[in-house]
């Protein structure tokens, strides 16, 4: 039925979805085109907003990607801090972890039959 994909527990038709997306997109783009499109290029108007401060340099006003998950790692620091400590950089430690995890999995598989 119109490209219906059934996974056994779920279903969706990508064709129908794409068709309605195209239809709604054309309406939305039509509405957007009815709006004002001009602005004063190369004036103060298109400078980035930094609370009235001048942009000293393009590079200097960027936010580093290392901050990206700050809120997430800060909220779950009780989980992440021990994990960071485990990452010693020593290949012997990593090999040890593989052996320990393999033993645990084998025991679980053995117990569950």
């Amino acid at each position: 039925m119109l490209g219906l994909l059934e996974t056994g527990s779920g279903f969706w038709s990508a064709i129908i979805w794409v068709v309605v997306v195209l239809v709604i997109s054309s309406i939305v783009i039509y509405i957007r085109n009815k709006g004002e499109e001009s602005y004063k290029k190369n004036t103060e108007q298109d400078k980035p907003f930094i609370s009235g401060n001048p942009e000293l340099s393009k590079e200097g006003s960027h936010i580093a990607a290392s901050h990206i998950y700050w809120g997430f790692t800060e909220a779950l620091k009780d989980y992440y801090n021990p994990l960071v400590k485990i990452h010693t950089g020593n290949i012997n430690d990593y090999s040890g972890w593989i052996i320990i995890i393999t033993i645990i999995i084998l025991i679980l598989v053995g117990v569950s039959g």
């Binding site: 039925m1 119109l2 219906l4 527990s9 779920g10 279903f11 969706w12 038709s13 129908i16 979805w17 068709v19 309605v20 997306v21 239809v23 709604i24 997109s25 309406i27 939305v28 783009i29 509405i31 957007r32 009815k34 709006g35 004002e36 499109e37 001009s38 602005y39 004063k40 190369n42 108007q45 298109d46 400078k47 980035p48 907003f49 930094i50 609370s51 393009k58 006003s61 960027h62 936010i63 901050h67 990206i68 998950y69 700050w70 809120g71 997430f72 800060e74 909220a75 779950l76």
Partner: protein
Amino acid sequence: MTIEGLLIILLKIIGAVIIAFLGVILGLFYKGIDRKLAAKMQARVGPPIRQPFMDFFKLMIKENIVPENAVPWIFNGVPVMTLVATITILFYLPIGNISPLLSGYGDIVLIIYLLTLPAIGMVVGGFASGSPYANVGAQREMVMMMSYELPLVTTVIAIGWKLSQVYPQLNVFSLAVINAHPIWGLVGPLGFVGALLLLITLAIVTPGELSKIPFDVPEAETELAGGLLVEYSGRNLALFSLADAVKTIVMVSLTVALFFPYNIAHLFDLSGIFAIGIDSLFFLVKLLLIMFVEVTFIRVAAARLKIDQVSYAYWVPLSIIGLLGLSLIVLDTIMI
């Protein structure tokens, strides 16, 4: 493709245009009511209910500034994508006793995926703005998305699992099936408490999905000056305001479909067009009441959390509440 297939597509397209139009009008109208109610609770007069309509038309005639640091095609394209993605979700949701327009063409798992599209759009738009404030806002939106997914999915999985136990022959993730079999009638006392916990979980996920207080950290006017929307203006911002209004209707409709799919036409022995009319009116009343609790009341009663508090709230207490709800429903089923 057969003639019948083309006819079905044509009818779906006409239905889609009507629902999209009604969804936008209803979204803006309810946004006006939300603002009025919030104002009354804060002892203010508040704006008139038609204010969101006036804001939209005003934004459409304002200049549409594209900052010099922005990536123009992404910056301009994202508002369109966000609004379109939000509107398409409406087609998979039931309205009163009317089945979803695309019933049989997508299930609730698809809705959960589609719900991430507007949020991803906001993130991409924030990064494409080339502003530090928008950048921080976009990063926060990403962290929020990673945080509220687990409790949201837990709610859906719990209801789907319960339905699969009672009606193994049905497509349990179909919204039409979920809408026809309210969870409250399928569970015993333990499961009832579990369903109540899941309802609380969804009620707290909703303001997060909508970036409303206390989870409005990606926009945070007082610290980020609008965050990921800081550089948007004119018609681009107008489209974002429409997307916000429609997403409110989407999230509240999802709560109705999952937990309050009841209709009242049978109480008055009505059928046909009258039954559709009264059930649709009842649906609008349910939307209003649930929006008041999930959006208006929570945002007036609480202050904004910090981003790490938001992430913690979703990952730890709310995930535990959701999983507890799921466990109680499983326990209830095993014990029966």
